[in-house]
């Protein structure tokens, strides 16, 4: 009997916890709608959420929204794969080889802090105004978080573990696959999460380069004529896409790092049993 009760309690608290992250966004949106209805804010400066959503539905019906979203998604994904991949390779090389680190690291650190907006004229001059220009800008944005995290992950693997691997006479390849890579994986996946965030923020900058499609284009185009409904819609889309990619990344972490959770559960269990 008692057992069932605690289970139910657990069930309830689980549900409550699930809705907790959405509490603030939902509250904000409700507050925003109410503020608009009571005309606390000027509708031309901030349209109500319902207006924004109906505007979104209108754009969805004439196909504009899906088209722009899928084009943006393509640019973002291509940029992430190229930039993230390159960042991973560079981070890996620099993490493993001291010479490479000395050669590349300070250059990369210098390039890292250049604002993307400042690079636009150069990108137009070198790569033109086509898709490659937009994708390279996103790639550049994604490169650094991946690089830093991969590099950091690989260099901060517990040296004792490497020592142990060596004493088991693991080959260099095995040492990497069985010890270094799994050890670095949590940090690398953290890099993926950061890169996903940067990906969206860079994309909006990239899509100001003579774009005629994409969410960034939609919003800059709307800005020109102060079409606040579309501007706010684009902001909401970015927020939702950002949340979605973070959700995916977080779950990938859970899936790839299952062993970590199992380990933790085991230590928890052993600790509780010891306490008893």
């Amino acid at each position: 009997m008692e057992n069932i009760e605690t289970n139910e309690k657990y069930h309830f608290s689980f549900k409550f916890k699930n809705s907790l992250p959405w509490l603030i966004p939902v509250f904000l949106i409700v507050f925003w709608q109410v503020a608009c209805n009571l005309s606390w804010v000027n509708e031309t400066l901030l349209p109500s959420p319902i207006d924004v959503v109906t505007n979104g539905i209108k754009l969805f019906k004439n196909g504009e929204l899906q088209e722009n979203m899928s084009i943006s998604l393509y640019r973002a994904t291509a940029g992430l794969l190229i930039g993230g991949g390159l960042g991973f390779v560079l981070g890996f090389i620099n993490g493993v080889s001291r010479k490479a680190r000395l050669l590349f690291d300070s250059t990369i650190q210098m390039l890292r802090n250049i604002p993307h907006l400042a690079l636009i004229p150069l990108i137009i001059l070198w790569l033109g105004i086509g898709e490659s220009a937009k994708i390279s800008l996103v790639a550049l944005g994604c490169l650094f978080p991946m690089y830093i995290n991969t590099y950091h992950g690989i260099t901060s693997v517990d040296p004792k573990l490497i020592e142990m691997g060596k004493s088991y006479e693991l080959s260099k390849k095995d040492l990497f696959i069985k010890v270094i890579f799994p050890g670095a994986l949590p940090t690398i996946l953290m890099g993926v999460r950061y890169a996903l965030g940067v990906m969206w923020t860079t994309l909006i900058v990239a899509e100001t380069i003579s774009a005629s499609s994409g969410i960034g284009y939609m919003s800059t185009n709307a800005e020109q004529f102060m079409d606040m409904k579309t501007i706010v819609l684009c902001i909401l889309i970015y927020a939702l896409l950002g949340k979605l990619s973070d959700f995916i990344a977080k779950n990938l972490e859970d899936i790839f790092l299952e062993w970590r959770a199992v380990e933790r559960r085991n230590t928890d269990a052993s600790e509780t049993s010891r306490n008893k």
């Binding site: 084009i71 086509g130 003579s210 102060m226």
Partner: protein, 323 residues
């Protein structure tokens, strides 16, 4: 539970990839056929090339002559001229001021054609209930403008007409979207701007033009410019572009209601705003003439005299008279 989560994430990722591939497919679509010569035209929303684009005849006529036309939209003239300098745009439709700044910065461009003016839709916006009644009242006021655009020239001209010096007002350099917020919030007293934004602000913000281009002689004429080497090699093409654009302009002047309908749907502006901006301008596109070169030279001179440009420019050296 774990497996369910795994497959859910897998489906989500697959969906993501599917949409991204669809997006890639969409960007591929406009890759033209190879037998035609590609011509890239840069435009800004609402201008002459834009009208040719939404009317749709231009592309067909050019295709019949063996050219594959691609329209590229830009948010402002400066970005378009950057793309022009790097050879990514073959013809750019710009206002009267950006090419002067670009020439001073060393961009090798040639004026190929001149369009109509926006004299009646370009000027200094004020609220109808503003304390500013005459140009002289601008003294001590904050006026928004955008550096390097026609608005800077407008403001210089307006001050000259009013007999004020440049230091008599506070110059507030803002991008057009930032200026629009600043103006509607009352952070600036006046705003030098042009259509269709002027028409929109007049209607939504209960405003009017204190002075327009007919008084200030800042006419805000349209030009088509091309990289110098490209222009000298493609005179026949330039003539074709002028001819077909001119045909579209004639259509635009005759078919206001159709044009207004198309533009307001495409730009997502109210018909009232589009109508106001369309009826007060005459669309045209012609080869360059001595009189428009003189107008451009005047801009270059005024900018040089006010230390906005550090180099004296002879506009007539960068013009192609196509006949």
């Amino acid at each position: 539970m774990k497996n369910l989560k795994k497959s859910f994430i897998a489906i989500l990722l697959l969906f993501w990839c599917g949409v991204a591939i669809y997006g890639w497919h969409l960007t591929r679509e406009d890759a033209g056929s190879s037998s035609l010569k590609n011509v890239v035209l840069g435009y800004q929303a609402g201008d002459e090339f834009y009208i040719s684009k939404i009317r749709g005849q231009f592309v067909k006529k050019m295709k019949a002559k063996g050219y594959n036309v691609k329209f590229k939209e830009f948010q402002n003239g400066a970005a378009m001229l950057q793309a022009l300098a790097s050879g990514n745009v073959d013809y750019a439709r710009v206002g009267d001021t950006p090419p002067v700044s670009a020439l001073a910065a060393g961009t090798k461009l040639t004026y190929v054609a001149a369009g109509g003016t926006k004299a009646k839709g370009s000027g200094i916006l004020i609220r109808k209930n503003s304390s500013i009644k005459t140009l002289a009242d601008l003294k001590g006021k904050k006026v928004a403008y955008t550096k390097g655009t026609s608005s800077q020239y407008m403001l210089l001209r307006a001050l000259k007409v009013a007999g004020l010096s440049n230091d008599d007002i506070t110059w507030v350099n803002l991008d057009s979207d930032a200026a629009s917020v600043a103006y509607s919030k009352g952070k600036v007293d006046a705003w030098a701007n042009w259509d269709p934004s002027v028409a929109q602000v007049e209607i939504t913000e209960n405003s009017k033009l204190l002075v327009d281009g007919t008084t200030t002689k800042a006419l805000n004429r349209s030009f088509i410019v091309s990289p110098t080497t490209y222009a000298s090699k493609n005179k026949t093409l330039s003539k074709l572009i002028i001819k077909y654009t001119e045909q579209d302009m004639k259509w635009a002047n005759k078919n206001h209601s159709k044009l207004i309908k198309k533009m307001s749907a495409d730009l997502k502006l109210s018909k009232k705003v589009v109508r106001r901006s369309v009826i007060r301008r005459t669309f045209s596109m012609h080869a360059m003439s001595k009189s428009v070169v003189k107008e451009e030279q005047e801009i270059a001179n005024v900018f040089y005299d006010n230390n906005i440009l550090t180099k004296k420019i002879d506009v007539s050296k960068h013009v192609q008279y196509l006949k």
